[in-house]
Amino acid sequence: MIDILLEVKNLKKSFGSKIVHEDINFKLYKGECLGLLGGSGTGKSVILRALIGLEKIDSGRILFENEEIQNLDEDHWQDIRKKISYVFQNGALFDSLSVRENLAYPLREHFKLTETEISKKIKTLLGEVGLENTEELFPSELSGGMQKRVGLLRSIIFSPEIILFDEPTAGLDPFNTLNIQKTILKMKSLGFTSIFVSHDMPTALAVCDRILLIKNGRIAEEALPEDIESSNSSLRKFMEGTLKL
């Protein structure tokens, strides 16, 4: 039996009178990369934020390792956030800290590593994504693509169980998009479980094991990437730009 790592049941969320999610249900299996697609404003990021407690949901249940987490207090969320990591759309790097200090932040917060061990780990990771010699630079000195990669590294440096990607390729050129894609695929091969939220269909098809389409506050469709192109599904129409959400 495949392990269910995370499960969302009957999730409802509204902002004032605007109902964003009416009834969201899905499961995330261990080791898979699940794609969440949908038009702008369909609340994809809201789901991700709810999964790590940055957004309170109106009703429904979120189960992580078979335990309900949606009503936890902030102290307990801090423990969950060491296991579920969030990659922000714009990187959300601390602008007063250098790249090195940004990456060292979660290591210093949660692990008892020596400065030498931290430096070694940072150097290795930066080298792997082609960001050598950027350690002492500040976020304002980096390009958008570099900021996203540093943000991504900061979110995976402490080896979480689940990684939530919030539009990691938005606004990037094809070269940087491919770089991010390779990084996600590499993490997938290392056994990381992830949820990938994006409008970027080629990347979603390349990295996801399953893809869900959000429409009218519900999961409208679920498909395997290899089946989408050959079918006449909503996902295919969404990919071709002929589906209005």
Binding site: L54, A92, E109
Partner: protein, 256 residues
Amino acid sequence: MVSQLIKNPLEIMGGLAEVFMESIREFKRKRPKSIDVYTQIYNLGISSIPLIAITALCSGFVMTLQFGLGLEKYGGKPYVPKVMSLAIFLELSPVFTALMCAARVGAGVASEIGSMKVTQQIDAIRALGSSPYQKIYLPRILACLISFPILTLLTSFLALLATAVIARAELGLPFLFSYQKIVTTITPWEFLSGFFKPFGFALCVALPACYFGMNVSDGTKGVGRATTMSVVTGSILIFITDYFMTKIYWIIYPYS
């Protein structure tokens, strides 16, 4: 309109109380890292010294001149150092220091936290399993609590020095005379009154700065609004707190 006038201040006071209580809870749960507090003491306290020094010296010069010229008509010139030392220790120094800090520190902290909120850095701190209270708010609140009393003492010293200088230069009162009058006028109670007020004022500046910063919405426009609200609220709270702390002081020590 009227309901808004009542609702808004109540909402702000409720928010400030919530930040205060949460800060105490977080402080009890876990102490913030010393390095974070030291950094903020430097940023908020030590970096404020030039501003505080200029304010202290200028207010000391002007007030001494005003008192001196005013009292001279009634033969009260020798009382200038005495009057000035009481005014400086009891009111001028704590209030002026706090107001200058509300402008510099309050505005700085509110805009910094507000910008962090807008750029999702506060969310990033939470997403990385840390508490913004531990990393952002508490170090700033503690830095204000530590810095304000020291800055106030510095203001008092410099304002008294300015008094002695102007008393000598403009009123012809010798330095030693001014020094003796100042030393014999200020009792330990008066010294403590001036020393304890800054702790209250530190909270009047730090809590609104954190509260308005963490509740920024509407992007950069919101950051500007939060900064203004922080300075205005902080300044008003300083005057209100000053009245009550003075009242408490007079109840405890009624000069009987």
